[in-house]
Amino acid sequence: MPPKGKAAPKPKGPDTTKPSSSSLTAAAQPASSTATNNTTPPATINERSQRRVDECQPYEAARQKAGLSGLSQAEQFGWVSARFARSDAAARSRLGPKSQRELWRHVNDASLPVRVLKKKLVSNPWGVDRNGRDVGSYSPAQFDDRAAKRITLTVLAAASQAFRDRRERTKRIALEDQQNPDVVTDSEVQEEHERRREMATLRKELYGDKMPGKLAQDPEWDDVVPIPHEEPEGSLAAISYPEDYAEAISYLRAVMQNKEYSPRCLRLTEYIIGMNSSHYTVWLFRASIVIALKLPFVDELAWLNKVALEHLKNYQIWHHRHLLVENYYPSIAGSPEAVASFAAQEQAFLSDILEQDTKNYHVWSYRSYLVGKLGLWDSAAELAAIEAMIKDDVRNNSAWSHRFYLVFSNPAHSTAGTAATEPDPAAPTPIVDREVQYAQDKIHLAPQNQSPWNYLRGVLVKGGRKLGSVEPFVADFVRHLGVDDKEDVISTHALDLLAEIYAEKGDKEKADLALRRLGEKWDRIRIGYWEWRRKCLESPAAAAGGTEAGVAAAVAA
């Protein structure tokens, strides 16, 4: 039981007005028996406080209501006694020793509070919660709940600090002993991670603190001081970054600054790539880490396959792959089996990804690089894969281009240094025949598809053959040229090639007719082009000369 009035005969200084927790309970004591008693529990903490203040001054409420003269004599005496009991010693000393004794006796008898709670000067002594609400307006149950959370947070914070201290200590010891620097176990780190997540949630709930970023919460990143980017005034094209992204970049800046190549940095690059797969700096940093840590290329490639399928249109992924293969290849170059197995693996992956995005430029570029690098010229699988894709979509120009490269850049039967547009005497007749036939077969499937027409022409040039060698085939797609009403063109590309064939034979008139009909009727949108071709028939110099006059003519048109 806390001391009652009797225990406080000594005069108290001004600090007596500050309620300690014990005086608060003591002061509340007489309340239950006084006029201010209220049987219903207080609805809010502020109300509870108010009641406690009131209970310290048993007759005060009545006095304020009725005035001192309105109180009964006993009440008046009680009120005066209470005032004297808590006034300072100097005031009491005026009473004389006898009166003072009587006063204390009465105070004791009536259990009058000798100390009083003063209302705090601040309007919300309990502070505000995350929504700006006065915590004093909480119900006692809510308040207790909040208090319990604060205690939990304190306990967690202490445990977290203990984790950090322990880690520091063990790290120091380990360094001194030159031992394994893995100073805390994974499960401890995991626990700490959980703990911080819980702390962050509590802080957010209690105080509305912003949830710290994923990395700020991660014990693994404690020793890194992030370098946030501050957007300067007067900048252009600022992008509203998601917060996680901004945080990640601030850590990236820090670790790049320190040239830290570590597993956690590798994970950081993965995290950023997940948010922005086009970040070329992050990819280069990742490559540096893979190389610095001598991580197995096959693992990195396996990871990359997954990322590539998630970000089909990304260019950086293929640059990274290229870089990896450049660094990996020398280690397998000596073993044909290893190269073959790697090639098969890559081909399978490329088939997968091209199935989803059949004309993806980056994938095809990589594919042609791979053919050259691994020497897949005579790979039956490579040619079969391309054939299957053309069969699937005869308009897939990417596949046609790859085929041309695969067939005509094969070092076994091509002359090094020959341009793609030049004849190559080393191109074997059977292969040229085969490719001419292949293109013609595909043209029959869709005569207005330009891909095989371009291919056919390319093969003829490469094989050093005259375009006229396919005239009967081409002419089949153009009927009654120049004959009113009867003229029919199945393919403008055929008519185009026919014009070239006529020109090749020196039949300018017919070539001109073909070009004129293309511009007039069959391919009107290219009339400017067909007219230029007609001019070239007249003077071959026009074909070579690009002039400002051309621009002027176009603008005037």
């Binding site: 430029y361 690089y369 949108i525 006059a549 176009a554 603008v555």
Partner: protein, 471 residues
Amino acid sequence: MADAEPSLDVARHLKYWKMCLQYPLPDLYLSNETNRIALAYFIVSSVTLLTSSGPASEGSPKPLIPPEHRKRLREWVLSHQHSAGGFCGTSSLVPPFRDYDEWDFDQGTRTAEHTGLANLAASLFALQLLALLADDDDPEGAFRGVDRVQTLRWLRQLQRDDGSFGESRLQLPGRGWFIGGGYDMRYCYIATCIRWILRGDVREGDAAWVEDFNTEKLVQYILDSQTYDGGFAGSSEEEPHAGYAYCAIGALTLLDRPWEGSTAGHASRLHQGIRDKPGLVHWLASRQFVYLLPLGGGAAAESFDRDEDPVNFVLPAALGDLALDENTRHVGFNGRCNKIADTCYCWWVGAALANLGRADVVQRAASRRFLLERLQHRVGGFGKYPGSPPDVYHAFFGLATLGVMGEPGVKPCDSSLAVPVETVRTIEKARRGLLKTAGRGGAAGSLAQGLLDMGLAVRGTKPGWLAAVGG
């Protein structure tokens, strides 16, 4: 269908660009973060294309980029400059992140750390931005603060043995210097742009002399990249692509473009070296196709997913169908054979043909209609596909295409440098300004100069008085 010809709603486009200029771009642009400076270039370049030049007359609306802001914006651009040459692409990754660390007290220089942060594209866009943001009364000062010598040296280091260019240069741990970036014709083109902008007519022995990169090897590399069907690719091993064709032609155009007073369509001697020039024109001409509305009508549904290819390449049922006038109303451009139309290919194909002096091959009226009636968005700007929302990349290239085609309300655009023709004149003056000051105070010999340089480097900014005297 005797519809009146559409017109470009300049005010609406300016409204779109005003939004891009004054507010942060949405996080849809996150994937462009490393080339944020490119986004700035698209915005400022477009605003310039649409704003009439000269002193503002009474009562005319305040320009979107007020003259008094230009200096501050130029300083922002210059803040991306890398001490080892070139410019970084984004403000969030510019070295040094901490002061002093990289200062070499013996050499009086920063050691070349984090060189990979500077990249080729950002460097071109930074230079173009500086010219676009030049003060009207001081075009010669537009490049003040650009480290011309270091940037040209860095450019040389980006060239590979085969003549091609990469986009950045860095040290891979334990493996020495590495030139990053694939075999991409864009880098070759950009290298020639930067060379043309900064180098100028200098001879060995001149104060402004810097060793050139190997232009012959570059020309050879480009010429060797022509493909069997006449187009150009990153190399002849790949599929031809209109963007690469533009870059190949543009690079050749710029390599022998006169330093002063020239136009993009100058008769480039280097074009004569193209092995199959008729094939190239044929290939470019073939990029045009009649745009037919997809069955089911209407433009492709609005989609923010930029990766999605809507079906906008509809084949006619019979060739004769295309003979009707109304069907040739819209002509679109694709980037590769049998691919779909996209706004930016109007530029890559149209400008490439203009550079070749063969703009007459483009079906101008119908492609203009395609841009204005199908790709122009109701909020202003151009989208990638018919019906797509606008984005700064396609909105810029839509305008630039119109600028090359001589659209009223759009300033003439230079087809090889992709900036307004008037900005090309500014570049020439700014280059002259740089060459004049070359050799002056460039080599930090004295201790005082060294200390001053260190102070400036550490502080990160230059005091106004120093900038004013050309320091």
